[in-house]
Amino acid sequence: MKSRVFPLLITFVVFVLLYLFCLSRFDSFGTTKVICNLLRNYAYLGIPAIGVTFVILSGGIDLSSGSIIAFTGVFCALMIERNGMHPLVVFALILSIGTAFGMMMGVFIHYFKIPAFIVTLSGMFLARGGAYVLTTDSISIRHPFYDEVSKIVYIFPDGGRFTFAAGAFLAVLVLGIFLAHFTRFGRNVYAMGGNETGALLLGVPVGRTTIGIYALSSFLATFAGIILSLSKHSGDSTIAMGAEMDVITGVVIGGTLLTGGVGYVIGTFIGTLVPGVIHTYLTLDGSLTPWWIKIIVGTLLLVFIGLQKLLGSQFDFFKLFRRPPLRAEQQAQ
């Protein structure tokens, strides 16, 4: 078995156990209703999380996603309601702005060698501040196009509503997996995270890839902002506060190492849904108070990191029971 899959496997097993536990307590976890709600409610976190997965895989970090979501929402609301533009035009516009924003961050990181943490932190302030400058009001969107989109829904026999947001989430997931595993860009991202100097020597275009990674991340955050705008029918500059950390937590729970090079898009998908499942459980249960979700997510984070650590730097579980590693002895089993 490929050892890289280990963290993903842990995430998967924990998720299944968690879900089975929930199912044993509440039958509704077996219905499409809960599943569809999970997908719909967590699309705005899961979509940027897929972008951030690429960033973290490459060895970087992106703190700007939450603010970009908010900016996008406000921008769409203003352009549609006050300037009377068609939503599709606005979407095209904001997606290009978002992508350009990400490219700029990539340029700062690659060419000026400013740490990604700081650049994307400034990006976060800039996007959130930009949203405030546009407006601090919450603006409702009443465009017929939005109503049309709300009507795109597949209703399961047992009442689950598979909405446009849920569909978009799954579509981005599939595209993300393809991008990560079946394009040179995706493989270059993995290579950079695995060994940046090595990647450079092997001919990976590091600069272009870095810019592409942050552009992708911002693009997906913008897209998530559009999705959120579509489902909320409004734009609000204080929305998605702190979402960037929820996004990163989802990526880490999903088994992607913050050191880069190891991780899977599908893991991020599961990692984003874990807090969702806990949240749903707590809502259904009612006896547990909402702050438990943070504590449980924090504990899960600890458990995942602990397990990853236990499995060794290269997730070689058997290292635990061997004497210190000897270079000459790491012969393939």
């Binding site: 490929k2 595993h181 079946f182 040179r184 290579a191 092997l202 290269q314 270079r327 000459a328």
Partner: protein, 506 residues
């Protein structure tokens, strides 16, 4: 490639290749030829110019003068990538592949087979398998590179290089961390590359392996080519003497008088029995007495630094025991070793010695302060005084104690590290290549300091590639080869001749 072509032009040729860095001439008018289908070993000690030659050929550095010809045509490699396009690939000791990607992906990174615009991993895996099979390597190419041994990783790097249409393959220290079995595997790959007409330039410090695999040998020393030989026709002793730059003479070189004092006067400071670590060093015993200098001689990679690291606790020994002044001690970390009065000036000054952003003063007092603890703080005045004393005593060239140590020359940095240990007043000092890469004046001074310290009663262990130096100050010389202690020479036995013969003999 026809035999005819081969005889017309060598595959790779350099004429009068010259390169100098800031003040030093790294490579001076070197003519080198590599034929198709030959394994050519490039040998020399540190600073001989081996890596400079390779870097010029692979376009890492631009050359100052001379020409490089590939199959008779002049080439100007601009970068490793460009050299690779021309057909020259290099595989280094620290493998520059991606440990977290699969074997197949490493071979095809950046040039993956595509289908419908997507990477076709199935085809990449199949082709990787086929490529490896031609070398009789049968492994699961979908597994992470890091799950395989260094030997396999090296072979993967070679396969990648060769598949990128390599004509010339440069292998830089490929076997330094391999065990015997892995070396066999690698050599079988090299032999099959040879049969395909690829010219292989091999750098290694394992003399036995040179004789096993190479057809010809070129020896460099101090940037000059000092010899080119058919491997079969060159006796090992002659090779070693060429590398070290010492003529073998019949007369015995007698040492200067310092070690004629009877051995019995010296009290044993450290006794090590059966220290060893798999893949690093075979079991060895060593004794160091107070006021005595033990030299460690051997070629680069023979296990000298490894010996020092095991004794100082940087790497934990897996077997054996150590006694300090007759007491059994535990040497499992530098901190513990330091508590027993040890000190180590490491070989790699930059990475392991100096703290480059700190000042001369801070670097000098560091070990003493660490030994004294956090709260037993040396006052600023005392620090300056100690640092100044050391600057004067060791004649460290620096305008003041507050200069960042990174701005000092190599020799002065070396003295700073020496000073760091001297003020903590150790009983036992290990010096790993204390005179490497420093100018002549500083060189003499450091040797004088070493002698003086021994006279003051310190136990010393000194590693050096300079045989004359080792012969000059050592009371005893431990000779190492291929990570094994071969023998120990004392008194009249210590001469450059005997050391070289010991290194060379089987």
């Amino acid at each position: 490639m026809s035999i005819n072509e081969q005889t017309q032009f060598p595959l790779l040729e350099t004429q009068g290749l010259t390169k100098s860095f800031i003040a030093t001439l790294a490579l001076s008018e070197v003519d080198f030829t590599l034929h198709a289908g030959e394994v050519h070993a490039l040998l020399g000690e540190n600073g001989a110019g081996k890596s400079t030659l390779i870097k010029l050929i692979t376009g890492v550095h631009p050359k100052d003068a001379g020409t490089i010809l590939l199959e008779g045509k002049v080439i100007e490699p601009r970068s490793p990538g460009h050299a690779q396009e021309l057909g020259i690939s290099a595989v280094y000791q620290e493998i520059n592949l991606i440990p977290t990607l699969s074997v197949a992906e490493n071979i095809f990174l950046g040039r993956q087979p595509m289908r419908f615009g997507l990477v076709n991993m199935r085809s990449a895996n199949r082709r990787a398998r086929e490529l490896l099979e031609t070398f009789h390597i049968d492994i699961d190419v979908t597994r992470d590179l890091s799950s395989y041994s260094i030997a396999i990783q090296q072979i993967v790097a070679i396969v990648r290089g060769v598949d990128l249409s390599a004509k010339v393959l440069i292998l830089d220290e490929p076997t330094s961390s391999l065990d015997r079995h892995e070396v066999e595997t690698l050599f079988s790959v090299i032999r099959s590359l040879k049969k395909r007409g690829i010219g292989i330039l091999l750098i290694t410090h394992f003399i036995d392996q040179v004789y096993e695999i190479s057809d010809r040998i070129t020896v460099l020393r101090n940037g000059l080519k000092v010899g080119e030989h058919q491997t079969q026709e060159l006796p090992k002793v002659k090779l070693v003497s060429e590398m070290l730059g010492k003529e073998l003479t019949d007369e015995l070189m007698v040492q200067n008088g310092q070690q004629t004092n009877g051995e019995s006067e010296h009290e044993t400071f450290l006794q090590v029995r059966g220290f060893a670590r798999r893949g690093m060093m075979e079991p060895f015993d060593v004794v160091v007495k107070k006021g005595e200098i033990v030299g460690l001689a051997g070629l680069l990679g023979s296990g000298r630094t490894e010996t020092a690291h095991l004794i100082f606790g940087i790497e934990k020994s897996e077997t054996g025991e150590a006694y300090v002044k007759g007491q059994k001690v535990n040497l499992t970390s530098p901190q513990k070793a330091i508590r027993h009065g040890f000190g180590l000036c490491p070989e790699d000054r930059k990475a392991e010695g100096i703290i480059d952003d700190l000042t001369v003063r801070e670097n000098i007092i560091l070990a003493l302060q660490a030994k004294m603890g956090w709260f037993n703080h040396l006052s600023r005045k005392r620090q300056e005084q100690l640092a100044q004393e050391m600057i004067d005593a060791l004649r460290i060239v620096t305008p003041d104690t507050e200069k960042p140590v990174k701005e000092l020359s190599g020799g002065n940095q070396q003295k700073v590290i020496l000073a760091r240990w001297l003020i903590s007043n150790p009983e036992f000092l290990i010096l790993d290549e204390p005179t490497r890469g420093i100018d002549v004046g500083a060189h003499v001074e450091i040797i004088n300091i070493i002698k003086r310290l021994a006279k003051e009663g310190k136990a010393m262990m000194v590693i050096s590639s300079e045989l004359a130096e080792v012969v000059d100050y050592s009371d005893r010389v431990v000779v190492l080869r291929d990570r094994k202690k071969i023998t120990e020479l004392e008194g009249d036995q210590i001469s450059e001749n005997t050391i070289m013969q010991t290194i060379a003999e089987r």
